[in-house]
C-alpha cells in the first residue's frame, strides 16, 4: 500500500475540454489538497462530470494540465493513474461475487491470494458487508451495492477517490444515512475524495470545500460555510440554498430567508414593510412570502412557534435583518 500521508494532492491548471465546437470545460484551475473532501457542485451541463472524467483519465484534455503531487498525469492512461472511482449506477461486475468485485484491483495487479483475501476482509469490515461476501451484486439492495462500489474503489488504497453522483440512485432517507457513512469512511482512510453532485444539501453536509460550477467554469470555491454565508454571485447564492435579492444604492445584496425577522410593532429599525401573501408550513419551520411596499417579493423562514398571533395572510408586517446578513454580490 502506498503511504497515503504523502500523496493525494491534485493540481489542475487551466484545463479545458471541447466536444467538437462545444466548450464543456473552460479553463478550470484548482488545487486540491491531500486528504481533502472536495465537492464539484453544479446543475447538469455545468461540466462537473466532464472534469471528473478528465481527472480519471477517461477523457483526454483539450488544453491545460493535471498533476498529482506536482508531477503531470495528463498523459498517463486511466488504468495507470491508480485513482479509485465510484461510478454513477456503480458499474459493479455482475458476474462476480462481492468478494471478487472488491478484490478485482488487487487481482489484476497479480497480488498473492492471501494478501487479497486479507485486504478484502478489511474492506468488507469497513463497509459492513461481511455476511454478503459471496453474494452477487444483483442480490444486494441499492445501498449495499453502493458500499460494494466504494469498497472496490478503495481496496487498492488509491491516493484519490473519484465519486460520480454515488448517491443518485438512493432514496432520500437512505441517502442521509449513507452520507454519514461516507464521511466516516473518508475520515478513516485519509484518501482525497473528489465528489460530483448536483444536490446542494449533500454538498453542504459532507464537503471540506465545494466548487460551484457553471457553464464549464468555476463560479466560486470555498468551505460550505463560506459559500453559504458569503456567496459571490447570484448564481452561487441561489444554487446553494435559497436567497432573496435586494437592490440598494445600485448594488445587489443576497439575503438568506432565515436571517430575516418579522414584526408588527413598527419599530424604527424596520428595513422594509409589506403584507403577507402566503404562509407555507414545513414542520420544522414555516415559509412566509411578503409583498413589500417597494414592490419586491421577499421570502422569510421563521420558526413555527414564533409570532403565531400575528401571522395570517394579508397581515401587515415589518421586515428586519442585521447589516451583516445582506451580502453584496459581485454581479450587479
Amino acid at each position: 500500500m502506498p503511504d497515503l500521508a504523502n500523496t493525494g494532492s491534485l493540481q489542475i491548471r487551466d484545463v479545458s475540454k471541447m466536444f467538437g465546437t462545444f466548450q464543456a470545460v473552460d479553463g478550470v484551475t484548482l488545487d486540491i489538497e491531500k486528504g481533502e473532501f472536495l465537492t464539484l457542485l453544479g446543475p447538469s451541463g455545468s461540466g462537473k462530470t466532464t472534469l471528473l472524467m478528465m481527472i480519471a483519465g477517461f477523457l483526454d484534455i483539450t488544453n491545460g494540465d493535471i498533476a498529482l503531487d506536482g508531477s503531470s498525469i495528463t498523459d498517463v492512461p486511466a488504468e495507470k493513474r491508480n485513482f479509485g472511482m465510484v461510478f454513477q449506477g456503480y458499474a459493479l461486475f455482475p458476474h462476480m461475487s462481492v468478494r471478487d468485485n472488491i478484490g478485482y484491483a488487487l487481482s489484476v495487479r497479480k497480488r498473492p491470494a492471501p494478501e487479497i483475501k486479507a485486504r478484502v476482509d478489511e474492506m468488507l469490515d469497513l463497509v459492513q458487508l461481511q455476511e454478503f461476501a459471496d453474494r452477487k451484486p444483483t442480490q444486494l439492495s441499492g445501498g449495499q451495492q453502493q458500499r460494494v462500489a466504494l469498497a472496490r474503489a478503495l481496496c487498492f488504497a488509491p491516493p484519490v477517490l473519484l465519486l460520480d453522483e454515488p448517491l443518485g440512485a438512493l432514496d432520500k432517507k437512505l441517502r442521509v444515512e449513507v452520507q454519514e457513512q461516507l464521511k466516516d469512511i473518508h475520515r478513516r482512510v485519509g484518501t482525497t475524495f473528489i465528489y460530483v453532485t448536483h444536490d446542494q444539501e449533500e454538498a453542504l453536509s459532507m464537503s471540506d470545500r465545494i466548487v460551484i460550477m457553471r457553464d464549464g467554469a468555476i463560479e466560486q470555491v470555498g468551505t460550505p460555510k463560506e459559500l453559504y454565508e458569503r456567496p459571490a454571485t447570484k448564481f452561487a447564492a441561489s444554487f446553494l440554498g435559497k436567497s432573496n435579492f435586494i437592490r440598494q444604492g445600485g448594488k445587489t445584496f443576497a439575503l438568506r430567508p432565515e436571517k430575516i425577522d418579522l414584526r408588527t410593532d413598527h419599530g424604527g429599525d424596520a428595513r422594509a414593510s409589506g403584507s403577507i401573501r402566503s404562509i407555507t408550513y414545513f414542520g420544522s419551520m414555516q415559509r412566509i412570502i411578503v409583498d413589500t411596499e417597494q414592490g419586491d417579493e421577499i421570502e422569510v423562514d421563521i420558526d413555527v412557534w414564533r409570532n403565531q398571533e400575528i401571522l395570517s395572510e394579508g397581515a401587515a408586517v415589518d421586515l428586519l435583518w442585521q447589516d451583516a446578513a445582506a451580502v453584496e454580490l459581485k454581479d450587479n
Binding site: A56, G57, F58, P77, A78, E79, K80, R81, N82, F83, G84, M85, F87, Q88, G89, A91, L92, F93, P94, H95, Y104, A105, V108, R109, T138, R152, A153, F156
Partner: protein, 282 residues
Amino acid sequence: MHALRKHLHPGWLIIAPLLVLVLALYLGPILNILWLSITDPEPGFGNYAKLGESDALVRIIWTTVRICIITTIFSVTLGYSIAYAMVHCHQRQKNYMLTLLLVSFWISILVRTFSWLMLLGRKGLVNVALEDIGLIVEPIAFMRNELGVLIGMIHYMIPYAVLPLLVSMQAIDHRVMDASRNLGATGSQTFWRIYLPLTTPGLVASTLLVFILSLGFYVTPAVLGGGKVLMVAEYISVQLLVTLKWGTAAMLAALMLFGVLAMLWIMSRFMKLSTVFGGAAR
C-alpha cells in the same frame, strides 16, 4: 374446475386454440418421424441397430459432427470480432456493416456456393492470379473437398453467428469496462475477465444456433465437397427420395433431434438457458 380456474390465467383460454394448433403442427411430424424410425421397413429397432453394424453410417455422422464443430468454432470466432467491431465503431459505419450483414441473408445459398467456385476453384480467380504471378505451379485445391465445404459453410454461417453476439454486446453497460480500467486492469485483462464473461450468454446462443443450423446443411457440402463430403442431411435426403429407405432416414433425423436436445440439456446444466435465449445478461 374451481381449483383449475384459480391456477389458470384466463388469458390461456384465448391462446389455447392456437397453442393446440402449434403443438399439433410441431409434434405431429416429429412423432411421425419417431414412429417411422421404429416401424419401417419392419417394427423394431433394426434401423438403430444399423448404427452399430455400419461403419459408413458412423463415418457420415462423424464427418457431419466434425464439420459442424469446425464451422461453429470459426464462425463464432469471426462473428465475435465482427460484432465487436460493429458495437464499437461509429454509428454510420455500424449501419453500413449491419446493412451488409442483412443483405447477405437475402442472397441464395446456391448463388453463394457457386460464387466460391468462381473465386477459389481450380480455374478460379485466386488460383489463376497466383499462377500468373508465379507463386504456384499447380492450382491449390480450395474447393471440391472438405476445406471447400468448410469455407462455404463458415461464410454462410457468420451472419447467424453475429446477430446474437451483437445483441449481447449492445446490452453491456460500458461503464463496467471503464470501471475495470480504472481499477488498473489492462485491455486484455478487461477483455478476458469482464467482457468475455458478460458476453458468454450471447456466445452460447451463437454457438448453439450455428451448430444446429450447420447440422442441416445440404447444398453446400453437396456442391463444394465434390461428392466426397457426405453429411447427414444429404444422406437423409437420398434415403427419402432415391433409395426409399425411409426408416433409415427417420432414424437419422431422430438421432439429430436427440443429439440437439442432449446438447441443450448439457448446456442447461451449466447455465440458465433463459439468459441465452434473450433473457437479461444479469
